[in-house]
């Protein structure tokens, strides 16, 4: 072949390779598009999607497991004991969504049943004009919580909230009964829960 052969070979290769590339792009010209026209067409999010965490304040037993599990410490919980009972109620729950990394450890740590008090929702649009708007308080968190459908009917998961249990307990106390056993069953002891979630402090 020699030099001429190599030259011809080069020419053929160049020619074919460039035509082949154009063949590929030509074929793609007629294929179905894959673009999603986002604000008008919404993505179909899978069931396990990890969006913004939402909280149901009624369900929260104020055990602090989520705050301890959080690797970036964006959860701030303030609670108080319901006078005369073992139950606690939520005073304030703050979540700094701007620093949240949607890892879902809080949801995994949450001990409430049958529905978790803190759940990652399908909300992913976080754009705000002011960073302070990303510090979420209970009303917003509740809205986010409710944005994701729950399989359990509402009466069922709201049947044994800490407040209701406390009210029952108080009522029983008023009747003169000893409410210990029931209270221990309803609210798991925070220490055990915290150990499962992995304590961060100390």
């Amino acid at each position: 072949m020699g030099l001429f052969g190599r030259l011809v070979d080069d020419l053929v290769n160049t020619f074919v390779s460039i035509l082949k590339g154009h063949q590929v792009t030509w074929r793609n010209l007629w294929r179905e598009r894959v673009t999603l026209q986002y604000p008008n067409e919404r993505p179909k999010l899978p069931e396990r999607y990890r969006g913004l965490p939402g909280l149901h304040p009624e369900l929260c037993i104020v055990c602090g497991a989520c705050a301890k599990a959080c690797p970036v410490q964006v959860i701030n919980i303030q609670g108080r004991k319901i006078a005369g009972t073992r139950h606690r109620e939520l005073v304030r729950y703050q979540l700094e969504a701007g620093r949240c990394m949607f890892c879902g450890l809080c949801e995994e740590a949450c001990p409430t049943k049958p529905v978790k008090a803190i759940r990652l929702s399908n909300t992913f649009e976080l754009a705000v004009a002011d960073k302070s708007a990303l510090v979420l308080e209970i009303p917003q968190l509740l809205e986010i919580w409710k944005s994701k459908p729950v399989e359990v009917p509402e009466e069922q998961y709201l049947a044994a909230t800490p407040k209701k249990l406390a009210a029952q307990e108080l009522a029983k106390q008023a009747e003169g009964e000893k409410p210990k056993a029931e209270g221990a069953e309803a609210a798991p002891r925070p220490k055990r829960v915290a150990a499962e979630g992995g304590p961060a402090g100390g």
Partner: protein, 170 residues
């Protein structure tokens, strides 16, 4: 020169065979100790005067030609320079450790043996403050040159702001 190696990593590391396997008898002596921890790979602790010699032994006579990692550890009372050596064609790993006092953190550089040590040592110098003698270009690599908030942030004295749980119940 390298010793013949069994196929699987389990066979390669029976604790009692370690000296024969890695030919460590020749190396043992003043300033060189070997320990086989229950978890992990054999550790050879070397005085810093003999480090380069030991590295050359491992590279040239034992075929540990692949430098995995050079790192620094703050042990609380002294610093430690750790070298992980491996082979490009076998699963064996050996860990070389050299203790370095805080007030005189000098260790010979292994860049003459492995070019790859260059950036590892720069990083260790940058974050841990170990000075590698004989390094061709020892300067900060990850932090910017004027960094002076705390010279070597991976030392234990440098503490991050504490991450207290924000969980309060009245």
């Amino acid at each position: 020169m390298s010793t013949e190696l069994p196929d699987s990593p389990e066979e390669a590391k029976p604790a009692d065979d370690i000296f024969g396997l890695y030919g460590l008898e020749d190396l043992l002596g003043e300033g060189v100790e070997v320990s086989v921890p229950p978890v992990g790979d054999p550790v050879v602790t070397i005085a810093r005067e003999k480090l380069l010699e030991a590295c050359r032994f491992f590279k040239e006579e034992q075929g540990f030609d692949y430098l995995i990692l050079v790192s620094g550890v703050d042990r609380g009372d002294h610093l430690e320079s750790v070298i992980h050596l491996g082979k490009a064609d076998a699963p064996n790993i050996v860990i070389l450790k050299t203790a370095v006092p805080y007030d005189d953190p000098h260790v010979p550089s292994v860049t003459p043996l492995w070019q790859g040590a260059n950036w590892h040592e720069r990083e260790s110098f940058d974050l841990m403050g170990i000075i590698y003698d004989g390094h061709p270009d020892l300067r900060r690599i990850l932090l910017f040159p004027e960094w002076d908030e705390y010279p070597h942030p991976l030392r234990k004295e440098f503490r991050l702001p504490s991450l207290e749980g924000k969980y309060t119940v009245e």
